[in-house]
Symmetry: none
């Protein structure tokens, strides 16, 4: 079995463990068992636990997020109005989250618990700035077209992100969560908040 495949299998096992057992239930031994390999092999492929978790993050970020972005970007671009773009953004995001519950659950465990070697949180508020800034552009675009009222686009982006996260937690925890309905209400709420 090639190195790349084995690495990905370990990453997958780590994601599964994190999603199912949480940060504290996830040990290298548990990941090894999940992957059906020995403990030592993880050390062979990754420099250590931190390196493994970093790889998990990177893997989710690139493979999963990139794929997700590629999936919903066309819909956003296809929309001709700011309202259409916002709807596409919300719907696409939620659909993507619902389609990757396992990875989202793992991320939910990883993000609050990862720390630098000095003990500081590795992902604070600054880490999500790019995402917030990107979303804010959407609102500013609407203002520029005259569709949306002048307003605090950063606040709107932040609030929208939190509502999206909230959906993610629910979606992860409850398979029957009404994603469609939540999305519709979310679109409604934010459109009411910005439309002229």
């Amino acid at each position: 079995m090639t190195q790349q495949v084995r690495r990905e299998r370990i990453l997958g096992a780590a994601i599964d463990c994190l999603a199912v057992s949480g940060w504290h239930g996830t040990t290298l031994a548990a990941i090894a068992q999940e992957a059906g390999i020995s403990r030592g092999l993880i050390s062979y492929h990754f420099a250590g636990r931190d390196d493994l978790y970093s790889a998990v993050l990177e893997s989710v970020a690139t493979e999963v997020f990139a794929a997700g972005s590629a999936e919903m970007q066309p819909d956003i671009d296809a929309a001709t109005t700011a309202e259409g773009k916002l709807r596409a953004y919300i719907t696409g995001n939620l659909r993507f989250i619902a389609a990757h519950r396992r990875e989202m659950a793992a991320l939910n465990e990883l993000m609050p618990n990862l720390r630098t070697p000095e003990g500081k949180p590795r992902f604070g508020s600054e880490a999500e700035e790019p995402i917030i800034a990107g979303t804010a552009l959407l609102f500013e675009y609407g203002v520029s077209t005259g569709e949306f009222r002048q307003g605090d686009s950063r606040f709107l982006a932040l609030a929208l992100r939190r509502c999206m996260d909230g959906a993610a937690v629910r979606i992860v925890a409850d398979e029957t969560f009404d994603v469609e309905g939540y999305g519709a209400s979310l679109e409604q709420l934010f459109l009411d908040g910005v439309r002229v």
Copy 2:
């Protein structure tokens, strides 16, 4: 020193440790040191680590939340309109969070990490149901008075709760966070979303 005082001192030390060092940096030894007592004494007052953390939660919930509620409830009651009550609720909540950064930070560490002995998250979505339900009543009240449009009050309550949480994280992480501005925007967003 009386039992009750000792217990509260330990709880306070636990909150401090959690707020400063985070879940992973907080050990019973660290809490004992912070409280200026021996390790064993914690075991004397609490059945175990989980029991201590449960007590922290309860303490924050009763003493702190109760006090908080008592603080802002008058303002909510004093408001004659649903809009006024919603504004009072949002403002009061944020003000309360800003006034209890230490406890909020501890809660932020505790909530995602506490697990049952079987490894399941101790505080899932169900745990916040009462809060959500309570907030939903506010929106329903507005509907009943004719001020607010018919709508999904549970969704609104959930979304508002997430935006409130989001503020809490920011407030805890950044002392200079503009609570007033965030509150004003939040009131605006949700009022726009419900007003007839």
Copy 3:
């Protein structure tokens, strides 16, 4: 059992393990077993393996060397001639080594293997400079009294130290080693090398 007593017992067990099993056979588990305690207790009394070994060194240096010095210094001081002082020094050193075979054996394991966290040897040639310098004074004293010829006192001190070490290794390895004879020959060799 008081803390100090326990610490010393662990140190004694560590010395025994090092003397008997060598650096590689000496693990914290082996030391704990030798001391009749649990593994964790070593961590309770010492910050880690390095700290324990440092404490062993310090213990041997202070308690043992200090005692040894106190034992032979009077003989050296009592001697009125440089020759007498040199003889007293050599005899006293060897007698001391023979009386502390266990500690010397432990030192023989510790010195070459102790490393700094960066991997550099902790005790290089510089570490024995003070001892060499001290011994060199003895030869220079003889020169000043006119008993000894002018010569390279540093070389003599170094060579004498090596011959002393050599005896230590033999004494540790072989209980029947003729310390007296070795000492007599050693005195003879170095006196022949310096006497006018």
Copy 4:
């Protein structure tokens, strides 16, 4: 590449690693990397780590020592007096050590740390008996020619060996060590100790 060449390359890499990184920094992985081969190949050529290290010792003993002996033996033989032979022996030995710092450093790491499978030191005092005995012959030769006094030739050989070792450690640790001066003093010391 022929087996023999490969073996020697591995041995050379092992010597380099030992000399540079010391016993503890030397792993089979490091040796393999130094030799530019895979880990598994070492196991192919050597039965195990102990076998490899034994081969290193043998290699140094035969190839290096044999060469060294061949180098200085003519000088010893050429000397017509016992004094001349002793001087040639000391000078030749030190010169040889200075010319093979790498191998000497490796030996310095190997000798104190190699153990039998039962945990006993593999190279105790007995191992150097042949060398001691050989050197003792030199002193006895001087006695037989009437140049040297009757004396404990075994002691003299042992002491001389220790002084030689001492030089080796210094030479390995410090490139600027004054080998010539040390040698001259050493010759002086031991000649003073034996001459009639």
